[in-house]
Amino acid sequence: MREIVFDQLAEKLYYEQLENGLKVYLLPKEGFHKTYATFTTKYGSIDNAFIPLGKKEFLTVPDGIAHFLEHKLFEKEHGDVFQDFSKQGASANAFTSFTRTAYLFSSTTQVEKNLETLLNFVQEPYFTEQTVEKEKGIIGQEITMYDDNPDWRNYFGLIENMFHHHPVKIDIAGTKESIANITADLLYTCYETFYHPSNMLLFVVGAMDPDKMMNFIKDNQSKKEFKPAEEISRHFEDEPATVAEEKKVLKMNVHTSKCLVGLKEVSPNRQGTELLKHELTVNIILDLLFGKSSKHYKQLYEDGLIDETFSFDYTGEKGFGFAMIGGDTEKPDELEAQLKKILFQFRNEAFYEDELNRAKKKKIGSFLRAINSPEFIANQFTRYAFNEMDLFEVIPQLEKITSEDVKRVANEILDEKAFTVFQIVPK
């Protein structure tokens, strides 16, 4: 077991890769009652074309299958795994994103028992045609719930605008039609390919004795057998750097309009430190332009174009990335025009070193706040690790960002061919 000490943050991380390939990270947190664990596979909604384990040819699977599989893993021959967790005083959950499926629990008692339940339920799939059919009703309702949610429609609408082919444009849950094609056999095929321990990461954070915890995990894993690991082949069509649609407007049953503008990442192939530095720099640019202390924010607010729902965000993964800016507005077209102007003006604008330093200070403080949260640490650490980055490198990398970096990255991402708009307006 390796010990990695972060002096400035007063944190100590323990790491080991087990014989079956599983990466295990432990972060003890003093004074905490709870222990939080996530067991995550590098398999998300975008992985819809791949070579199944032990096969030679690519297979395309129905949209929404990774999410469907997440739901179905909770059901076993003896019943529902939620029940097992709650009997042991834990609360359990799971989520599927574009690139990951995570299973998690938190508890303040019987931590080892709960951890055993987590490892075992994820590693012992049980799917039957009958339970698969039943789940179609529940997930169907989940899909309809999101259909009525204008913020979700706006978010996905913008992503659909950006991409020509990349499966990130497909809703994570799929559609009622696509999930109708899911079978128990297909679930097993996906499971066997992507739930190999060598494609997974376990993160435990909170109250614990790291030595005991690691031995417990090793012991659990050594009793199980897995086929030899294979490199997973995933297929993605070539994606142009331009956006697929420049603008779309959707009429919905809303009282207030919504407007999001987006910038598609033009070269989404970074990994590791390069990606970390890039995404921190993009976040700084967005903060300089649209943060609450920026002159633009004040102007947009006073002009009545934005309210407190205004926000911005950047997502960067291997193969795709995008920035999004916007929120509720009474004047969607005016907001769109202003946001576009502010973004592209920045390429020629002078900005001051003290603004950059302030933005860096702000990010450092918000990172400290974030690592109060075991949930943040486990989820983000995993996302970072899957992109070969290190969560605990955030502060040192932030400190290294210079005004030249800001200029260079701004010139790269602020490309008019990568700009798109999605609006929701009242019917």
């Binding site: 400035q8 029940q83 009525d148 913020d151 049953n253 202390s293 309210d307």
Partner: protein, 418 residues
């Protein structure tokens, strides 16, 4: 806990967080007359102060303090309307810089509350006008979120003749009656009469914090108000309300009167009841509405602790309305008849206990647990007491709770006919 003039300070020294948190709570009765002014006030106060005369200056100062966050929030606890100001600031121990940040945060919070930007004796009218516009949008935003909207509509119908029907963000039509002058007058009333509590949580020196707060908050002392809880009416018949709108999924919300609030001896039993009935993924609603019948993605219940309500919510196909209502009602009868096992009780207690302990792992949760005590005529409850009260709940207590619960209103938001 430290009683200072006009403000009660609660300090909690812990080294488990990387930041220090200040939470300021102002409490007053929820009234039709003041609800909208009160909803506007904190947003006006947090925009600018006499020291930081524009929102940009204030926000730059927060960024300089390593991205300290300043938030405001309105909520209801029973028929009290609570304003919350929250500052979260890095502990300089983890920075290369060693500026004493906590003292600055206390002073900033005092500045926001006590030293607003005043023009001609009142608030700045341009700030008031901007915040009125945002408040209208905030009130209106509820219509666009069908889940929030349907729970709001249920409470509005159910508590028609009680102040609790009012939303914490106020009434849209009343926003335009507010002026910089009448808002300032209301502000003076708030400063003189509200019940004010400040919570400071983090790796801090208590004596130092008391000293800083005493200097920064020179408030007049005030009479402690008595808390009368209005549990509402005695239900004589079930009320059914159906709204039609352009939605794809029906929202079913059912409101029950529990006749039990935070102060009652049966309150811990109500929590266990709710856990078995609909609070968790092992509870009757989740299992019978979702898992057995596949009618819904979510089917859950929650307790409004200070008002004595039990609220059920679910999203279903329009055509399943009657079926879902029937199943939910059947689960209540099961509870009343004691058709739940000792295992279910033990399981629920374990999860509730876990939830309470997890809550105190966040600064925010710590404050919420402490603040609940301000609504009790009971003694201050320690976490250990809250947990042992849950452990002591018996099956008879739970059945007793179930028998007191009365169905008040069934609300259904469904699609348009055609």
């Amino acid at each position: 806990m430290h009683e200072l003039s006009g403000i009660t300070l609660h300090t909690l020294n812990t080294s488990k967080f990387k930041t220090n948190t200040l939470v300021l709570k102002l409490k007053s009765a929820l009234t039709e007359e003041n609800v909208t002014k009160r909803a506007l006030l904190p947003y006006v106060l947090q925009t600018a102060t006499n020291t930081y005369k524009t929102s940009t200056e204030l926000r730059i100062y927060l960024d300089e303090l390593y991205g300290a966050t300043l938030n405001v929030d309105l909520s209801k606890k029973g028929e009290f309307h609570i304003i919350t100001f929250r500052i979260d600031i890095a502990n300089e121990k983890f920075l290369k810089d060693s500026t004493p940040l906590l003292q600055k945060a206390i002073n900033l919070l005092a500045d926001v509350l006590l030293n607003p930007l005043v023009e001609g004796g009142y608030f700045s009218s341009s700030i008031v006008e901007n915040e009125k516009r945002t408040l209208k949008q905030r009130i209106q935003s509820i219509y666009d979120d069908k889940m929030r909207y349907s729970s709001h509509r249920l409470v509005e119908e159910m508590c028609k003749n009680e102040p609790y029907r009012l939303a914490a963000n106020g009434v849209k039509d009343d926003v335009d009656t507010i002026t910089a002058q009448n808002l300032y007058e209301y502000y003076e009333q708030v400063l003189n009469t509200d019940d004010i509590h400040l919570y400071a949580i983090g790796d801090l020196d208590e004596e130092e914090v008391i000293n800083f707060v005493e200097k920064a908050f020179p408030l007049k002392s005030r009479q402690k108000s008595l808390h009368e809880v209005n549990k509402g009416k005695n239900v004589t018949s079930e009320n059914e309300v159906i709204d039609r709108d352009d939605v794809k999924q029906g929202k079913l919300n059912i409101g029950y009167r529990t006749n039990i609030t935070y102060n009652d001896s049966l309150y811990p039993a109500l929590q266990v009841f709710n856990g078995i009935f609909g609070g968790f993924s092992h509870s009757k609603l989740f299992i019978n509405v979702r898992e057995k019948e596949s009618l819904a993605y979510y089917a859950a219940s929650r307790v409004e602790s200070h008002k004595g309500l039990l609220l059920v919510m679910s999203g279903i196909d329009f055509s399943n309305y009657e079926k879902a209502v029937k199943i939910i009602k059947e689960q209540m009868v099961e509870m009343q008849n004691g058709n739940f096992t000792d295992n279910e009780i033990a399981q629920t207690k374990a999860v509730i206990k876990n939830q309470i302990l997890e809550t105190i792992d966040t600064p925010r949760g710590q404050v919420e647990i402490l603040y609940n005590n301000e609504f009790g005529s009971i003694d201050r409850k320690a976490i250990e007491d809250i947990i042992s009260n849950i452990e002591n709940v018996t099956k008879e207590d739970i059945i007793n709770v179930a028998k007191q619960i009365q169905l008040d209103t069934i609300y259904f938001l469904t699609g348009k006919e055609d």
